[in-house]
Symmetry: C2
Subunit: 223 residues, 2 copies
């Protein structure tokens, strides 16, 4: 049992949000931030923030706040963002194309190493600096280019099949955009995105705010 | 001060996840689920779940569990998903097109009422059942069709301008996909999606799981 295994999933879930917030603070030129300031921006209880961050070591100074650059660097390291993961996107429909053009992937240090599709019309077309490759060569290319992360952007009906192919090819983790519950071996971590969560939260705020009522202003969400 | 204002943002954030989980349970034919079962699926402490749900009333029976259909219906109502919001997407690049084709919007009861773009080449083209309309008519169409939610899918450089136009047009809420921090009046709730959160979480699990180590299997994420 290693130490990291005792970190709760809820804490791990919050780390990327801390990281993003610290990146924003860096962009704004803020050098020191208190847990109260972080709490206000993230709408997380400051006590919870202190508890979460204390778990990973000593990043702040009592009564002063957290050093933004240092904390950002440390959380980035904890998140493994210093490891330059190689990523493959499978499925070059609109969603796949949007992801291939999404600059956040590169900004986090991830490298788009391959794009796959099964459609002969799409195979060979250019997306940014890459050409779409035939999914028939998936296993070969994943091994050759040392690709660790597979991004599933195919229609729901094909998602499990692609996941199976990725697993067989030795992928280490999966980022899934298909609205299905994937079955993958327990040793392969995966993250499924579901846009309905953000849209539902917005619906909640619309339902419970009247146009004249600014009370919820501090509760605006960034997922 | 109305009652709903005392619900914490953290609780509101979890409601859409409860809703999605209950939808999955419904699809699987599960009729009753304990807070432990929900906790296992969502990786949320069962105690936290009981606390969150108790806030909204009595949905379960001690020692039996929650009635899935009833709880799903109630949370859907709390989230305002029974209100049939009209939605407009602004920006018909790959992301906008992916969102226009995203079935989750309709599944939640939202109605895609308009699609806007500024590019003359794109205006007039068909996306599903709709035609892309000229953003010059944004205000007019939003009023005419009673559109409450604007989805920003334009490049970052144009996002604030579009947000300003939406606000001037009387939009009630904004779902933002541009990687910028929007400034909108406090009376307009907005949700910003940031895919880097999911990708960072995946990076964390890859960093802290070895290929032989299945220990993190219960911690797979669905954001």
């Amino acid at each position: 049992m290693q130490e990291h295994l005792s970190i709760s999933k809820a804490t791990v879930d919050r780390l990327p949000r801390y990281y993003r917030c610290l990146r924003q603070l860096t962009d704004e030129g803020v050098e020191i931030a208190s847990s109260e300031e972080l709490g206000r921006r993230l709408a997380i209880n400051p006590e919870q923030i202190r508890k979460d961050l204390a778990f990973f070591g000593q990043f702040g100074k009592k009564g002063v706040g957290y050093y933004v650059a240092e904390l950002k660097e440390s959380i980035g390291g904890i998140l493994g963002l210093d490891q330059h993961w190689n990523v493959a996107i499978i499925g070059m429909g609109h969603l796949g194309a949007a992801l291939a053009n999404y600059q956040g992937i590169a900004r986090l240090g991830f490298r788009l190493a391959a794009i796959f599709d099964a459609n002969p019309v799409v195979i060979g077309t250019r997306v940014g600096e890459r050409r779409v490759e035939d999914i028939a060569y998936l296993a070969e290319i994943i091994a050759e280019r040392d690709i660790q992360i597979g991004v599933i952007a195919v229609p729901a009906a094909h998602a499990q099949g692609v996941a199976d192919q990725l697993v067989a090819a030795g992928i280490r983790g999966i980022w899934n955009f298909a609205p299905v519950k994937l079955r993958v071996p327990p040793s392969i971590p995966f993250v499924s995105e579901d846009l309905s969560v953000g849209l539902s939260a917005l619906s909640y705020y619309l339902t419970h705010t009247s146009a004249e009522d600014g009370e919820l202003s501090d509760k605006n969400l960034t997922n």
